[in-house]
Each structure stands twice: as C-alpha cells, then as structure tokens.
C-alpha cells in the first residue's frame, strides 16, 4: 500500500506547492522562532560554560560575608591551590567636588590584589594595563571605573574622587571585566582599586558590610568534588560559601534557562496559531481534492490508501517547512551573532546546537500532525458516491481512533514541553494558558457567529444592506469568523497581557512606591555616627521620617543542628548567602506577632529569635526550632520564640530574623537607616548626611527601582518579540484565510452586483465583516490579557491591579486594522471581476 500511496502522493506534488504555501509559512515561522530562541539559549549556556572559570575569577571561589579569611583559613587555601587571589567587594559612595558642588555616586567597589585577575584580563579604554592604571602617582592611588559612573559625575581620567576617606585618581574607563557577568545584579557601576589602597578609606572596619572572595587557581587534574568536601569539612560553621567552575553562575544560568524556556513556550503559542493555519490550509486543500479522492475510491483505493496519500503529501511539505524553519532559526542567530553578543550582558558561544533544533523540529512535527489529522481523517471518509452527489454523507467527526490519536499527540506535546522546558510549573501554566486562550477564542468565535446571525436578522441592520451582508457572512457557515478570531486572537492576547503587566509594573514603580517607600537606604552608619546622622537627616526640610536599626549579616548554617540545606531540602532564598540580621529589645513599631512572645526588654539568657512568619512556613520552621547563624565567622544558635508578619514589599527596614540584644552584644556592626522624603528633598539630604561621613553609603530607592524595572523591561521586550512572532504567524494565517475565501467572495460580489449592488457597497460590506471579526479578536484578546495582567499584578506582585486603557485600545484597534487590511487586499479581485464571466464560469 505504501509504494502506491507514495507514487500517488508525489505525482500530485509535482505540480508545485500551490495550496500549501500557508502551511509551509506557518510551520517555517513557528519552527524558526523556537529554533532561534533555543539556539540563543544554547549559545548563552555554552558561553557561560566556556567562560565559567573567567566569570568565577578562578577554578573555585571561597566567599565570606563581612570578614576576611583568618590566617589559618588562608593557609588552607595556599596549601590546596596553585595561586590564590583575594578580592573584597562592597557597595560604597564615590564623591567629587565640595560644598554645593559635591556630587556622589553609588558604586560597587572591587578591591584587588596583585594576582587579580587569575583568568582573562581587564581591558581599559586607554589601552593600558590594570596594574599601571592602579599604580599610585603623585601620592594618589589609581581607580578605574565603568563609563556610567564617569558620565554620571562628569569625571575624566585625572580627576580626583574620594571613596570613604581615601582620595583616588580616576585612571581609566573599564571596557570589559572578565568576572563582570558573574557578579550578578549590582546597584551601582563597578570601580576597581587596589585592596591595599583601601586601608586608609575607613570602609573595611569591623561592622562594615563587605564580602571577601578567595579565587583559587588549581593544579590541573584537581578533583573538584574532593576539594569542595575538604573545604566544607575544614571550614564547617565558618560561614564559607563555595563555588567552582562547574556551576559558576547558578542564578544567571537559572535565569537564562527560565527565560529561554518561557520564550520557547511562547514559540509554542506561535506554533499553535500556525497550527490553526495549517489545519485550515489542509482542510482547504483536501476540500479541493474531494473529486480526486472520490475518483480514487471509484478506482478501488481503500480509505487507508487515501489517508496515506495525503499524509505523505502533507508530511513532505511539513518536512520542508520544518527544514526551512530550522535553517532560519539556526541561521539568523548565527548571522546576527556579533550584534546579539554586543547587547548581551553575558558571554555567548554561537554555533550550531543539535538540541534546540531537534526540540523545534519535534514541536513542529507534532503540531503539524495534531492539526492535520482531523481533516485527513475526514478525507479518509470520502466516498466514491460524492463524485456525483453533493449530499454530504460523511460523519461530522473523524473516527474515534483518530480522535484518540489527536488527544494522545496533544498529551505527548504537553509532556515534551514539560520535559524539555525543565520547569513543570512554568510549562503547565503556559500550556494551560494557551489551551484556555484557544478555548476562549473558539467560544468567542462561536458566540460572535451566533450574535452576528441574530443581528443580521434584527432591526439593527434594517435599511443597511452592507451591514446586513457583513453580519450574515460573519454568522454564516464559511468558518471565516473562527479563522480570523483564532489566528489573530492568540498573538493579540499575549500582547495585551504583556501590555497590562508592563503598565502595572510601571505604575507600581512610579505611582505606588513613593507613597510608602523611603527615598534612601543608608548603610554602614557606625554607632558613633548614628545620633549625628539622625539629627542631620531630621533637620533637613522635606524629610518626613527617619528609621534606624542595627545591622549585621549572617548565614543560616544549621536548623536544629542539621546543615540548613539538608534540613530544608530545597534552595530557599533565605539560605542562599548571607541575610541581614538585627537585634531589638522591643518589637519594632508596626510589628505584628502572630505566634509566640517577644522577649522581655532586659532578657539576657540563651539567644532568642523572632522569625518572619511567611518565610518560616516556607522553611518549615516552628516555635522552639533552633537556628544557627554564622555571624563574622562565629556560630550563634538561637531558639525561635516568636513569628512576625513582615511585609517585605513595604521597602522599609525589614529583617528576616531579629535577635535579642544580648545575643549579639559585642559583635561589631553598623547601622542601617531609611529616610522618608519627597523627591525634591533627596539631593540636599544626600549632601547633608554624607558630607561629614564619607563611609556611609546611600542607596536611592528610586534609582534602584528604576534599575530593577529596566531589567524587567528587557524581559518584557524579549517577551514582546515572542508575542510579535506569534502575531506575525497569526497575520499569515489571517492572510491565508482571506485568500482561501477569495473565490467565494468573487462569486458573492458577482451575484450582489447582478442584483444591483454598487461596488462601493460591496466593498463596504467586505470591509465591515473583516473589521468586525478583527475587532472581536481584539476584544477577546484584551479580556484574556486583562486576566493575565490581573493575575500577575494581584497574585505575583501582590499589588492593586490597574487597567491599562492605552494598551487595550492598541490591541483592539490593531486587531480590527490587521483584519481589515487583509480583507481589503483580497477584496480587490472580487470587485474587479465582471459578474457575467464569474457566473457563466460557475455554470
């Protein structure tokens, strides 16, 4: 049976791909989008892997919060590594000028030793070496900085700035920093100085907030697992954080993975829209083949031979579409590699990667099968009798075995999406959202059809023939309404969703934050500076409130005596790195104790702790549990005696853990302060409180939030590109639907004009039906987008949802316009054709 079917199938294909173009374009686009996203993701993953050691700054890294390694610890490192480089990393303020001309900028300082960098090199705009740039000249040590800082403060090489109490000479502008991408999210631009030159800055005293990093270059062949275990054993309970080149940038990698997965799933949305087009194209093609199929049946072809003939044909075209998609999806990122690399904040190794291409091909193949099986199964049922009889004798639904096959393929696609995305929840949510959106659009299409049918017969369209014809066409059996609503709707729904989420994010930053968030966080305020700081801040006009708290940092190492990661069993943010800790004799104002009791004001017994309620629940902590914190290299075990409700979104001073004062007595520490002030008071306030205390670091909440929302905006831009691809596929499907309806419109136009309709009136009717269908797609998309926007704003960001009218209007108008343009383009031929010729040809 197969050789015959193959011969018959290929014979028909010799005539070219007419009738298959929409199928080809839809599959090509869908597969290309997924392959391109996957290729970029693989490029980044390989780049991260290739540059892992450089980004880590060595083969392995040992990190301590708030302190340097002891002599003993450093001795251990020197014994196990070929070379050790010590880096100190912290936030501070760079200041320039004096008096009213004094300007400050928040920076991320890296203090280096002579061994830095162990891998790669820092490149400077001036072309010189880092060692030369940082050398002391005319009594001033050198500093190199990222361009952003120099531009912000108007600095040029040779200018003098102060960092803490130490003056530095700006030596050059940093172009690349080998370990830059590994640093993660930083609030200020990077500056590099020699660690030795920080000795006089007053920034690294006891109680200051800094991280020390020890990068190890290891002898070739060193067993990383063994060394890690040895380090953990040697530095048990010393607050050590270990990382090696095998997983140098886990959070960055996770982020790339998740965004990549999300975009691939967005690509699946595009493929689903394409699938609608594929299904429509195949249905149209097979409808045109009805006579051929019935003839084959007359000549003795069995139903399965017919099925096989067209399955082979569609399979061949689909394979071509998938191959073109793969070529495009792999080729475009390669061609644009230099451009993409220059815009990525992380390394990427562009090349041909099999995995994303296989993934895209499998998705493409499955989608093509899912959407073509239905019309194929119906074609299989065509009987010889249909050659001479118009009566449709076939069943409306395909045979149960095909329905089961379609469902099984859908299940396989979902299972693959879950498996390949590596994130079950993300995959299921996205696929669920897609299925829901498709179902909603289908329901809307049916609803619109019914409403249009009813409206066509109502008084509404009385005396308005163009409107009545348009409504009748929308309510008719042609399937045009469903094609437009489905093809445009999904892409528009994603765009509408992004529009609503984006607007709410901006609204949150611009409108809501200032009402409750402080203007500044000040860190590193020493005890002896605190009183002066508070009075200076409070005496500034426009300052509403100043809150302060002692601030230490600690790493949760054990829970009830068991290493924390083992006790909890998953990576909770509270366990990743060090967290702020404070102490208080009485509950801070506004605190709500939900369980247990606060300690007496003069309590001095065994350490006690109050833990944030929500996070305690997530970590499985209860009253009476013992939490061991490593503060400054020393372990401190406290019993949880109360749980508090903490609203981290308030942006005020919030701590996960509060201890009784005696527990931290003697531990050197600084203080943190939040100052609430209007935007106009920010600049004078900054000058007033930092002029006399250069060690104090100010973090502008507004700038930090702007930076965070910039990062979010990049993500939403990437998502928008994904939605754009979906929309483009939708428009192709729309064009396909309009093109396939052209023949019917030619006939309709001929009949209407024979009956006396002017061309203008016929055109108006065609335009109205296109615009109405597009409008409906837009409205449904906005409803779906509104749901998504509300869900993300209210449930994920836990903020009040605000409707974004601009984006909604854009989506609705865009839908109507796209459909209108597609409809009008294909209305030209019907209007040009002479009625007599059309009608005679039909006889």
């Amino acid at each position: 049976m197969i050789p015959v079917a193959w011969r018959l199938a290929t014979r028909e294909l010799r005539g070219g791909l007419r009738g298959f173009y929409i199928l080809l374009i839809c599959l090509t686009l869908g597969v290309a989008a997924i392959a391109a996203v996957g290729t970029v993701r693989s490029a980044i993953e390989h780049g991260l892997e290739r540059e892992a050691a450089a980004m880590l700054g060595g083969d392995a890294k040992m990190e301590f919060a708030y302190r340097f390694a002891t002599g003993e610890e450093r001795g251990w490192m020197d014994r196990h590594a070929a070379v050790v480089s010590e880096i100190v990393d912290f936030r501070s303020m760079v200041a320039t000028g004096a008096g009213d001309a004094r300007r400050t900028g928040l920076v991320q300082v890296k203090g280096i030793d002579d061994a830095y960098p162990l891998i790669g090199a820092v490149t400077l705009a001036g072309g010189g070496t880092l060692r030369d740039a940082l050398a002391t000249r005319d009594g001033l040590p050198g500093m190199v900085a990222q361009g952003l800082l120099l531009d912000r403060l108007g600095l040029r090489p040779g200018d003098v700035v102060t960092l803490g109490t130490q003056r530095f000479r700006i030596a050059d502008r940093i172009v690349t920093e080998p370990d830059g991408a590994g640093a993660g999210f930083t609030l200020g631009p990077r500056v590099i100085v020699r660690r030795a030159d920080l000795a006089g800055s007053g920034l690294l005293g006891e109680g200051s907030l800094f991280d020390s990093e020890y990068r190890l270059r290891l002898a070739p062949g060193t067993d990383l697992d063994q060394l890690r275990d040895a380090a953990r054993a040697a530095f048990a309970d010393a607050g050590l954080q270990w990382r090696d080149r095998r997983d140098a940038t886990p959070s960055l990698r996770r982020f790339v993975d998740r965004l990549g997965s999300f975009l691939v799933l967005m690509g699946l949305a595009g493929l689903a829209v394409g699938g609608v087009g594929v299904g429509a194209a195949v249905r149209g093609h097979l409808d045109g083949k009805k006579e051929t199929i019935a003839t084959l049946r007359t000549l003795g072809a069995e139903s399965n031979t017919v099925l096989l003939v067209y399955l082979i044909q569609i399979g061949l075209v689909a394979t071509l579409g998938i191959a073109l998609g793969l070529a495009l999806g792999a080729g475009l990122p390669l061609a644009a590699a230099p451009l993409i690399e220059s815009r990525l904040p992380m390394p990427a190794a562009f090349g041909l990667y099999a995995r994303p291409l296989v993934e895209a091909a499998v998705y493409g193949g499955l989608t093509a099968l899912i959407f073509t099986l239905w019309p194929l199964a119906r074609a299989r049922d065509i009987r010889a009798a249909e050659l001479f009889r118009e009566i449709e004798t076939r069943r409306r639904w395909p045979a149960p075995v095909f329905l089961a096959a379609i469902l099984a393929l859908v299940a396989l696609l979902i299972a693959l999406a879950v498996r390949l995305s590596g994130d079950t929840r993300l995959a299921l949510t996205t696929v669920g959202g897609l299925v829901f959106a498709l179902a909603l659009l289908l329901a809307a299409a049916l609803g619109l059809r019914l409403a249009a049918r009813r409206a066509a017969r109502s008084r509404l369209s009385g005396g308005r023939p163009a409107l009545r014809w348009a409504l009748a066409a929308l309510g008719g059996p042609s399937g045009e309404t469903a094609a437009v609503v489905l093809s445009l709707g999904l892409g528009l729904a994603v765009l509408a969703g992004i529009g609503q989420i984006d607007y709410n994010m901006r609204h949150l930053v611009a409108a809501e934050l200032p009402d409750r968030a402080p203007a500044f966080f000040f860190v590193d305020i020493q005890d002896d500076q605190l009183a002066r700081f508070v009075s200076a801040a409070e005496s500034e006009p426009g300052v509403e409130r100043v809150e302060t708290a002692p601030m230490l940092r600690g790493v949760i190492t054990r829970i009830n005596g068991v290493p924390a990661r083992e006790a909890v069993g998953h990576g909770h943010w509270a366990l990743s790195g060090d967290r702020g800790v404070t102490y208080a004799a009485a509950p801070p104002p506004g605190t709500t104790i939900t369980q247990g009791e606060w300690w007496p004001a003069d309590y001095a017994g065994e350490p006690r702790m109050s833990f944030a309620e929500e996070e305690a629940g997530e970590l499985g902590l209860r009253l009476g549990d013992k939490v061991t914190l490593n503060v400054l290299g020393r372990d401190l075990t406290a019993t949880i005696t109360s749980l508090r409700r903490v609203d981290f979104r308030s942006m005020g001073i919030n701590f996960l853990m509060i201890l009784n004062p005696a527990a931290l007595a003697g531990a050197p520490h600084g203080n943190i302060a939040t100052v609430y002030a209007g935007p106009e008071a920010e600049a004078p306030l900054l000058r007033a409180v930092t002029a006399d205390a250069p060690n104090i670091t100010a973090i502008s909440v507004r700038e930090a939030m702007d930076q965070a929302s910039d990062a979010l905006r990049s993500i939403s831009a990437a998502t928008r590109w994904g939605a754009g691809a979906t929309l483009l596929t939708g428009i192709i499907v729309l064009i396909g639907a309009a093109a396939s309806g052209q023949r019917a419109r030619v006939y309709e136009s001929a009949v209407l004009r024979t009956l006396g309709a002017t061309r203008a009136r016929v055109l108006a009717s065609f335009a109205l039906r296109s615009a109405l269908a597009g409008l409906a797609a837009g409205v449904v998309a906005v409803i779906a987008g509104l749901g998504a926007g509300w869900w993300v704003t209210a449930r994920v960001m836990e903020a009040d949802y605000v409707f974004a009218p601009g984006s909604a209007l854009f989506v609705v108008a865009g839908g109507a316009l796209a459909s209108l343009v597609a409809g009008l383009v294909f209305a030209l031929r019907p209007l040009r054709a002479r009625p007599a010729r059309v009608l005679r040809a039909r006889e």
Partner: protein, 229 residues
Amino acid sequence: MSSPVIALEDVTLTLMGNAGPVNILRDISLRVEPGETLGLVGPSGSGKSSLLMLMAGLEAASSGRITVLGQELTALGEDALARFRRGNVGVVFQSFHLIPTMTAIENVATPLELAGARDAFGRARAELDAVGLGARRDHYPAQLSGGEQQRVALARAAVTRPRILFADEPTGNLDGATGEAIMRLLFELRDRHGATLVLVTHAPDLARRCDRVLGLRDGALETYAEAAE
C-alpha cells in the same frame, strides 16, 4: 440458464435531503446476464444514474439485495467495495473525472497500481494506444479536449480488463461527432474484452445499440423494452 452477473432484488434507495427523506429508487428488481449490454433510459432525476452507481458498488442501497459477480454488495463496507471494484468493474462518467494532477498515462495506470499489478505503465500505454491516444499519454487532463479526456477515461475503465463496464452518460458532455466516436470505442472495448456493459443514456439511438433497454421514471422501472436488434 447461466447465473446473472448482476442481480437486484427489491432494491430501494432513500437519501436524506434538506426537506426530509427522498426516495430515489423504489423496489427495483432486475438481472443482467454475462456479456449483455443493458441500456438505462429515462428523464432527468428518474434515478438511472443512481441505479448504475448501486450496481457498481459506488452507492449503498437502503434496502434490498444486490449481487454482482456472485458477491453480495449490500454486505460489503466501503473498503471491501473498493477492493471488489478493482479488476471487476470499470466506470466511465459523463464528467470524465480524470485526476487533474496526473498525466493521461498515470490516470490509466492508477487502477492497476492500486490492484498491485505488475507493469502497470506498459499496460496503460497499450490501452492508450488502443483508444488512439498513444501520442498524448504525457498530457495532463487540462491539455486534452473533452473527447480526448473521455477516451482516457475509457482506457482507464478498461485497462484492468473488468468483467463489467458501467458508463454513465459517457457522451453527455461531448458534441455529436465526438460522442459517436466515443460510443464506437466503448462498444469496441466491450467486444474486445467480452465484458458486460451497463449504459445510462438520454440518447435513444445509443440505447438502441444495447441488447436490452430499461426505462426508469420516478425511481421505478417503467418499461421493459428489448433492443431493436
């Protein structure tokens, strides 16, 4: 008396139309003997094409019994009927029904290929030569005249050497001279292969060439006329 190649007993055909069930054929009983040529005549809508399609196994009867070449068709499903048609039955339509994407020779070879015959193309070539279209074998239907298309359809119907040929108004779409040529060819083919021929026609002179002529009106057999010969 030899056993008939076609036997119909109390056959009815009722189809569902938009306005309800439509009786196409009512209580038809008839026999067709081996090698016989039977003409079916009657006005438009009388059911003669439907009767032919029932006998060819292209349509399923609503009730009654149809036996063709000893095989009871009413008991067969669509695919079994398709298999039965291969080699047993050849059909020629008024509208030719050639597959537009296949050349003449491919159209003729298709039933042989479906039957799994060897040298399908050699036999198809010979059959096209027999209908005088050897030179046009690589032409597509759209490149052939109506008469030529019908000759291809004749070759396609005859190529499997069927024991019964069904022809549904084979000259209905052709001019007089071409129609005459086609009919001559049809009878030649029948004579050469010794097949039984069932012919639906409007034309009385065509009907007269048949051994026997049956008339239909409103779905029932009306007259039982013997051929002039």
